[in-house]
Symmetry: C2
């Protein structure tokens, strides 16, 4: 049930003293091959953290042999010295494994604007290397947690091959990735170019459609490594489907653990002219603080849904929009329809359906409600 479930991978998670709260904080995932194909997507934020600047170079040739991750410090906005720390970490991992540093992806998460203690981090790398094992997935998943309340892992079985994965992230979940680190592993034989195609297809409909608070992080990284240890080459369609399933599963785990949230909200836009327009409409609602606060108050406030739709450039007739909440069509033709008191929002899961009546495309965007817990955690936690 982890990144070490597929054959050909070892992992570890150890305590290096980086987290002021204590606990494991350095993770290492190693691909022992025989193949070392990989693909990675990064945050779209232009202000990127040092590990992202480093790893962007690492992944260019499609070969990644190890991913080293730390919590307790994002190494972001720490200048050239911070970049040297990232480089030193990659070198240390490479020295232990007898590989080149340029095949080592580095990920960091935690406070930004604070430099990690380099010696402490390197000692953590030594300890993680020493602890590497075929059952280390769980420890690795725990070592990347920050404000996460639970570790997030997934396994998807193919025909003779497997995908494993782990993720962290509980806030700043936003489009084009989130404060989110994800490592996926597979023992299928998948060339780097196909991995890239599959990963982009999978993230487009999973992590990219998670918009917890509209904020975009600086460190987000999703890496998939293929060891080829199963000896089986799945079709690209089959592999993409399985990878999408793994990414969606992890994305839902992130959504459910979003900071301070009381509700998970799925906003599905149907009958849109294009899928992009469906996403734009869903995202506009997912970013409405007024709507999200209403859901927190168990108030099926469809007026705030329409007001958000009206800010988009999607095609629709403003006088002919239908909106359902938890299956009750509270708005038809942009006017009140079913009695909103029929909508029960006391459960955690909330669905919003928006009928644009402009085409045949659809998309779902996921978000959380805006709660006192969110305000509390993000005013008290300096990250």
């Amino acid at each position: 049930m982890s990144v070490t479930t597929p054959q050909g991978f070892r992992a570890a998670g150890v305590e290096a003293g980086l987290k002021t709260s204590g606990g494991k904080d350095v993770a290492l995932v190693v691909n022992d091959g025989p193949t070392h194909d990989s693909a990675t997507v990064f945050t779209a934020n232009r202000c990127k953290a040092n590990p992202v600047l480093w790893s962007q170079e690492v992944v260019k040739d499609g070969t990644v042999r190890a991913v080293v991750l730390n919590s307790g410090g994002a190494n972001c906005y720490t200048g050239p010295d911070g970049f040297q720390t990232t480089h030193a970490v990659a070198e240390q991992v490479a020295d232990h494994l007898g590989i080149g540093a340029i095949d080592v992806v580095v990920c960091s998460t935690g406070l930004i604007g604070l430099a990690n203690d380099r010696a402490q981090l390197l000692a953590g790398v030594d300890a993680a290397y020493a602890a590497l094992g075929p059952d280390g997935g769980q420890d690795a998943a725990e070592a990347i947690m920050t404000t996460d309340s639970v570790s997030k892992q997934v396994v998807v079985e193919g025909a003779g091959w497997t995908i494993g994965g782990m993720a962290k992230g509980a806030g700043m979940l936003a489009p084009q990735l989130a404060t989110m680190l994800v490592v996926l592993t597979t023992d299928a034989v998948v060339p780097a170019a196909d991995l890239d195609t599959a990963l982009r297809a999978a993230t487009r409909v999973s992590f990219d459609r998670l918009d917890s608070d509209g904020c975009m992080s600086t460190n987000d990284t999703v890496t998939v490594m293929a060891s080829g240890a199963s000896g089986i080459t799945p079709s690209l369609d089959d592999f993409t489907e399985a990878l999408t399933q793994a990414c969606t599963d992890l994305a839902m785990q992130l959504l459910k653990d979003a900071e301070g949230a009381d509700h998970e909200i799925a906003i599905t836009t149907i009958n849109a002219a294009t899928e992009d327009e469906a996403v734009e409409v869903g995202r506009s609602v997912a970013r409405s603080n007024l709507f999200k606060a209403a859901v927190f108050g168990n108030d099926p406030n469809w007026g705030r849904v329409l007001a958000s739709i009206g800010t988009t450039s999607a095609r629709f007739d403003p006088a002919d929009l239908d909106v359902a909440m938890n299956g009750v069509w509270v708005c038809r033709q942009s006017t009140p329809h079913a009695d909103p008191t029929e909508v029960d929002l006391t459960g955690r899961e909330v669905s919003v359906t928006i009928d644009l009546k402009s085409g045949t495309e659809r998309a779902t965007v996921w978000t959380n409600d805006l709660t006192h817990g969110y305000v509390h955690e993000n005013s008290a936690y300096s990250s």
Copy 2:
């Protein structure tokens, strides 16, 4: 100190029973001339309320003789019947004044998706007409309040002419206008085309740069009427300057009364390549829930400022950004500089300065912090 301070205007504010909380809820502002030039800007939201749909037609010829406003119901998403209510209100005002309904702007604010009682509203119009007087400005300003805790008014004196104004709005303050109704009056002689030029210039740097919670309302209307009663024709520059001063003053009153806010935050972007890019950068920070929650917690979290800047398309070097909070340069060259503990955020007014080092343009965007009060008011108030 109101819309009736300039010569040539009468106003009234009366209680028609529309507000469940009680209090004045119908306002009328009449321009007795001799001129009836006007200009109006509306919400950019494509899902517009019925009064906006009506008033868009009214203002096309540059002539407005009266503005009738009600709180206690926004007449939004109420369908053709709601439009007929708006039309009936304009007709009733026109009948009393012996003018055409097509010269009567109608504004509504309050709950959306709920139809106002037409008979009640029309009775309110009768009462407002009966109460019209040259000192009715204060009553009118009170009658348009919803969650506002205070009425908002302004007077700006020119050389022999005057501008008066009133506004309502305490939430959903966002670009391209807000949940905001504004009526401005002047006794200067200003042709409609010049009023339009001046009003667009004034709103562009005032109401349009207020972004309290990123949400855009459905009813926003800003109307200026010129009676010409002073007989004085100011230069367009002088008039635009005075109108900008009036709009900025009202915008700051709206900002200070934003729902549940503990801080007013002025985000000034300097040395931008263009003014538009400076606005884009300021707006991105104003919309960061994470940054706004940090300010609520008195935490000078400049990392969240940089993360927001990174989501924009403005020109800058991600490794060379400077950020000051309340005058303390906590970040230079995208790395930590002054000790953040030097920043005192306990006062209500917070300034953020962002140096993009890409040009010579600048702009200020205003917002509020994200507080428990905001979440409470917007989860409990069904609007």
